[in-house]
Symmetry: none
Subunit: 211 residues, 4 copies
């Protein structure tokens, strides 16, 4: 976790660096982050408590503040970390796709799989909308920007229509997120790859009847 963005609290005086120096410190930091993921995922930001995190981590309450300045800060760190985990899961699969249409199908399918396997991540990122708006917005802008790049590259390669742009990217992002909620979070049994196939056919061909 770094503190580049929103670094308002750096200016005023002491900017003690909370990066652990020792191996033991790094272990504790990791335990806290893992515990926080579970605590925030299970109880949500406001119900979650620092003492809940340290209890799960097996550390003393006070130790928390050796590594983080506040509850908000660890949440922010977690959102960034999870956003990256999601990206790291999806990106290589998408990049291996033979063409842009397939890439979107694979992107959705891998997203659905990830949501199912890590439901707490979905929740935590979404709750950022009400806890750390900057992180929330950054996550979705980044995610959608990647969609847009793929679309424009696909268009440049002649695989899809040439007028694709930001609007299409947000539309696809929204579709994926809602399908993730509906079939990743809520419906345990749906066949993920079938859903991705159908949605992808829709994205590719739209609603109009073709013959």
């Amino acid at each position: 976790m770094d503190q580049t963005q929103d670094g308002a609290h750096v200016a005023a005086g002491e900017a003690r660096d909370k990066t652990p120096r020792t191996e033991r410190g790094r272990r504790t930091l990791r335990k806290l982050l893992d515990a926080a993921a579970v605590e925030f995922g299970e109880r949500g930001f406001h119900e979650a408590s620092i003492s809940g995190i340290t209890r799960r981590a097996g550390t003393a309450l006070g130790s928390f503040y050796t590594y983080f300045d506040s509850k908000d800060e660890i949440f922010q760190a977690l959102v960034r970390y999870m956003s990256e985990q999601l990206r790291d899961h999806v990106t290589p699969l998408v990049q291996a796709a033979p063409d842009e249409i397939s890439a979107e199908r694979i992107g959705l399918e891998s997203f659905l799989g990830f949501v199912r396997a890590h439901k707490e991540i979905y929740r935590i990122i979404d709750e950022a909308e009400f806890v750390d708006y900057a992180s929330y917005r950054r996550h979705y802008e980044t995610t959608v920007a990647r969609v847009r790049q793929r679309l424009e590259a696909g268009a440049a390669r002649g695989e899809i229509r040439v007028d694709v742009g930001e609007i299409h990217a947000w539309a696809i992002g929204g579709m994926n997120v809602f399908l993730g909620m509906r079939y990743g979070l809520w419906d345990e049994d749906a066949d993920i790859s079938e859903i991705a196939r159908i949605a992808n056919d829709f994205v590719a061909n739209g609603l109009v009847k073709r013959d």
Copy 2:
């Protein structure tokens, strides 16, 4: 409440009816709901306070509890109320559309307009995900169910492909919500009808190049 179902909390013994019996009571109830919409919209559920609501409503703190059992309860009432307001705004416009494809365009455009005009409603409904999950889920399931009905009716009329179903409905729902966030909430200046036109062309024809 907290991530559980809503429930008709009547069961245990006393279920004193909080419905106002006098005209004065109805006025106060309305003032409280209006004030709560502003308070929750501006500060979010957790930052919002009952005293903030009554201050805005111009009533005594205790009067709040003449009409609501808890902070959760008024939030729930508000989500339902706003969900209905949104529906009442969009539905007649959509129903007047000449065909299903146009209906989706008009639906999106009117949604974007509504979000711009009532930003707090968007926020409140979304925050329900973390405050009153049942309301949140009900809102989106209801909304998407309406999309699905339109799609299937359009298919029955031969206006669109016949294999549309739940997945397409959730995809369109997600798309609309994200475009609402991006161009309704974040971007004040975007031309709403132009966005709806582009997104609708995407929905109609998909990504594939047509000639």
Copy 3:
């Protein structure tokens, strides 16, 4: 109920008389007292609420204050009323006793029966210790004074030892109250007259072995 004792609130200005003038008023007053007996008996003074009383009585909340000045006042009225009910139940039976020893047995037995039949009365009078100390003290002082009178009359008639006095009366009072709690309130099944017989034998003869 009257307001002779502790009438501090009479002096200051308006001493509106709360005695009902109409028949309808007298009915409402009675309903309130009955409801209060149930409410206080079931929930205790502090858990009880005026609205609980009026709900049980089937009157409007505001009507309560047509008849009583405060929660304390109705409680006080109730304690006095119940104290009298208890006395009215016990006294005639005791007075019909052939001698003082028997009188004490009958007094205990009828008290045990009364407690069983009116558990809420026991509770209400006892709680007065923490709500309306004056009423509590008056109740027990009155009760014990009656025991003492009986004892002294019995001694004068030569039925019992001549040195009986206040201490004996308080001892007998306490004995009765505890047996009432143990075998009237807690133990539904105990044979009341057998208990009274054993206790009375103890009161008559004491612990010392006789042959």
Copy 4:
């Protein structure tokens, strides 16, 4: 709590142990208990406030909750503690008595002395009837059980009649409590050992005239 059983509220999930681990913690806990005894004794359970307790204890309001989960809990702890204090005062004196009749006299006299010296204890234990019924009942059942054991042991030793049992024990318990109230709490000046002597003579010989 309220009229129900006490219970080892461990069950549901987190049972953070509130036992202090440091010496400083033990000191604070003790200060809180002492302050609570005064606060509850002076104002009664319902008038007492947590902030009143911490003010008297000289700690911050929040510190209370480091050691107790609720106002009920500290009250319960206090009742148990006081019940033990009373027992520790009376028991050794009673056990040193030469015979059972004397034991009861000494028991009463030491009880009267204790009540006078610690009026708040009498009040707190009695108020438990309306705050923490289980504690109240446990206190008196334990106390009376001790009386009963003494009686039966005395009978076995041939010092008193052989048919003594539970009823006699509750009778004696009630006598003591009422005499404690009358001559320990209300009457500062009465000669305690004289009262105990008279009451004991009554307990030993009963009401019947002997010559």
